[in-house]
């Protein structure tokens, strides 16, 4: 303790602790269940390789433990906003995503500290991870008005018609966020889903939820309409089956099922088949599923996985 920060014993300041809440429909409610669970820091120095189960560090806080009903409410919120978000111009969505990067930049120090605690990274590596996450938003923001040119097409047809295929968002997407990469990985699964006009319900990393809560606060203050991203913290194995079987969810990203405690992604995919959801599987096969390397420059597959193709015929004049 340095002498300059020491306060006189007669005037102790009460610690102001933070309540970590959910992010649903643009608001920050507690879980309807009233539950919380303790989140601990990863032991420092072991790096991102420290998996679930090695959570022996200091108590970081009590985080809301979301329930199936919180997820249900989040789906309702996402469904309500998806038409408006999908209807926004691609240019506008790109600006909004870029704005997220701007606001993140202003809170980079806080994010770096939280990522360091959550993932057990050194300060330098945590700062680099946050910078990469900010750049990831910018990278995806640029795609908003280019996606249609790349995956859309003017199809040659045997008749006097223009035949145009254009991508459109699939609707409400449930996302199991990566368990290990609490910010870069989270960004890398949310941004590609919402850039094309989808709304999403995200189950944050079970053991590393605090950077996700901060990202939710950033999203709430950066022009992303409430309900486009809904973030539930809690036990992945408890909530994921309800989203997988939910009839009003159009697609599910199972990336975070790799390494999640008690989650069998094959069962989730089977449940998702009930209403023909689009499913993005985790990398790897069966129980060998693993998280991808988030530091690599992404390709388009996380965006194209959650698109539908709309084809229109238009008579060709002279």
């Amino acid at each position: 303790m340095s002498p300059t920060t020491a306060t006189p014993a007669a005037d102790p300041r009460l610690e102001v602790r933070k309540t970590y809440k959910l992010y649903v429909n643009g608001a920050f409610p507690r879980s309807e269940s009233g539950r919380v669970y303790a989140v601990h820091a990863a032991s420092r120095g072991r790096g991102a390789a420290a998996g679930a189960g090695s959570r022996t560090g200091a108590l970081l806080g009590n985080v809301a433990q979301g329930s199936r009903k919180d997820a249900r409410d989040a789906v309702v919120a996402a469904r309500a906003v998806v038409a408006g978000w999908a209807g926004a111009t691609a240019y506008n969505r790109g600006q909004v995503l870029y704005r997220v990067a701007e606001v993140m930049q202003g809170r980079a120090a806080q994010l770096a500290a939280e990522v360091a605690d959550a993932e057990g990274l050194t300060a330098a590596r945590a700062a680099a991870t946050v910078a990469a996450a900010i750049d990831r938003w910018v990278w995806y923001a640029g795609w908003s008005d280019k996606l249609a040119q790349v995956v859309g097409n003017l199809n040659p047809v045997a008749g006097p018609y223009f035949n145009i295929s254009a991508p459109s968002p699939t609707g409400v997407v449930a996302i199991l966020a990566p368990q290990r990469s609490s910010l870069l990985g989270l960004t890398s699964v949310i941004a590609p889903v919402i850039v094309s006009g989808n709304a999403c319900v995200v189950i944050a990393s079970q053991d590393r939820p605090i950077p996700a809560v901060t990202l939710a606060e950033i999203l709430a203050t950066s022009d992303v309409p409430g309900g486009v991203v809904n973030l539930i913290t809690g036990h992945t194995a408890e909530i994921a089956p309800w989203l997988a079987s939910h009839r009003d969810v159009n697609a599910i990203d199972l990336t975070g099922a790799a390494d999640a405690t008690g989650v069998d992604w094959g069962t989730l995919e089977a449940a998702a088949a009930d209403n023909l959801k689009r499913v993005l599987r985790p990398e790897g096969v069966g129980s060998q599923a693993q998280e991808p390397d988030w530091s690599a420059t992404p390709d388009l597959h996380r965006m194209t996985a959650f698109l539908e193709t709309k084809t229109v015929w238009h008579p060709k004049g002279r």
Partner: protein, 335 residues
């Protein structure tokens, strides 16, 4: 507690006689009605609101929930009251009433389809000889601003069109300015216009439009006035004025019908209408009916929901119970 007696439709001519007997007067006047209505105990506003808030916290689960959902569906007056209504829209609403959920034939049907009077015959034809009633709004719905001959013609027209139930609006202007006898006489006259040539009579629901009555005391007085004049049902709202049905207002009306049966032996129904959209809302009403009026009112004969969107949400919850997975709006018909 008095024994349950189904409400016997009183001969309209005797409504005034019954009222005179009850009030102990030889002639009904505004002054007499005013003295009686203003002699009713006042409503404890804070108490009523606290009571409904308390009842709203009841948790209804599993088999009770399944029962409540089915009961609520069977109590719905499936309603379309838009200027843009067409015979086609009414027919599609009737089709929905006949088969609420094509994926589950065990789904109960709503109690009635509620339309404007000119579409009553369309609804009757579409419903065929099914037991689903046709309810028609009449008497210059929703404002009630028309002359008496027009209101009576409106009512007869709907009854002739095949309406089983008539939803009339009271003249709120007359009620609020204290012309109680005029309101009383109008209800009596409309009730007599509900008579059919074969001697039977369409059920009369009296809409108090509580959103315009301002206080719970006025709601209580309007309820008693409507019951005194021979209403078969008292209904909160047209759905065209905000606030429409609220829990405290319905509580006051349920207390009124409960006390009315104690007083006269006649059971009167209650219908909240407007603003009831979710299963959770409907459950709160059912809990309140049971706790305030009693289980005798927990049937479509004595309690109704005036709603259109509510059926969709009830069906979603029903599907959730049946399949174990959350359902979505893609799986019910849109109105």
């Amino acid at each position: 507690m008095t024994t349950v007696r189904p409400s016997v439709a009183q001969p309209p001519a005797s409504a005034s006689t019954t009222a005179r007997d009850l009030l102990g007067v030889s002639r009904l006047t505004d002054a007499v009605l005013r003295r009686w209505l203003h002699g009713l105990p006042g409503v404890d506003q804070v108490g009523a609101e606290a009571r409904v808030a308390g009842l709203g916290t009841r948790s209804i689960k599993t088999t009770s929930k399944a029962w409540a959902i089915d009961t609520a569906i069977s109590m719905i007056d499936l309603t379309t009251l838009e200027g843009a209504d067409t015979p086609g829209k009414v027919r599609s609403l009737c089709a929905k009433a006949l088969v609420p959920d094509p994926t589950d034939p065990a789904t109960p049907r709503p109690a009635a389809v509620c339309v404007y009077g000119d579409l009553a015959s369309t609804a009757r034809n579409a419903l065929g000889d099914s037991p689903i009633h046709v309810a028609a709004v009449a008497t210059a719905f929703p404002s009630g601003r028309a002359s008496m001959p027009v209101k009576l013609a409106d009512t007869r027209d709907a009854v002739d069109g095949g309406a089983d139930e008539i939803d009339m609006v009271i003249d709120r202007g007359a009620f609020l300015s204290g012309r109680y006898l005029q309101v009383f006489d109008e209800i009596v006259a409309v009730k007599s216009a509900c008579a059919r040539s074969d001697g039977t009579s369409a059920h009369l629901k009296v809409i108090l439009e509580t959103g315009e009555l301002a206080t719970y005391d006025a709601v209580r007085r309007a309820s008693y006035l409507a019951m005194l004049a021979g209403a078969d049902f008292i209904k909160t709202s047209t759905g065209k004025i905000a606030p429409a049905a609220t829990l405290p207002v319905t509580l006051v009306m349920l207390e009124a019908v409960r006390d009315w049966r104690e007083l006269t032996g006649t059971q009167i129904g209650v219908k909240p209408a407007g603003g009831i959209r979710t299963t959770k809302d409907a459950m709160k009403y059912l809990v309140m009916v049971n706790e305030i009026a009693g289980p005798d009112w927990l049937t479509p004969e004595w309690f109704r929901f005036g709603a259109s969107g509510l059926l969709g949400d009830l069906l979603l919850q029903r599907q959730k119970l049946a399949t174990g997975a959350y359902s979505g709006p893609d799986y019910v018909t849109i109105d």
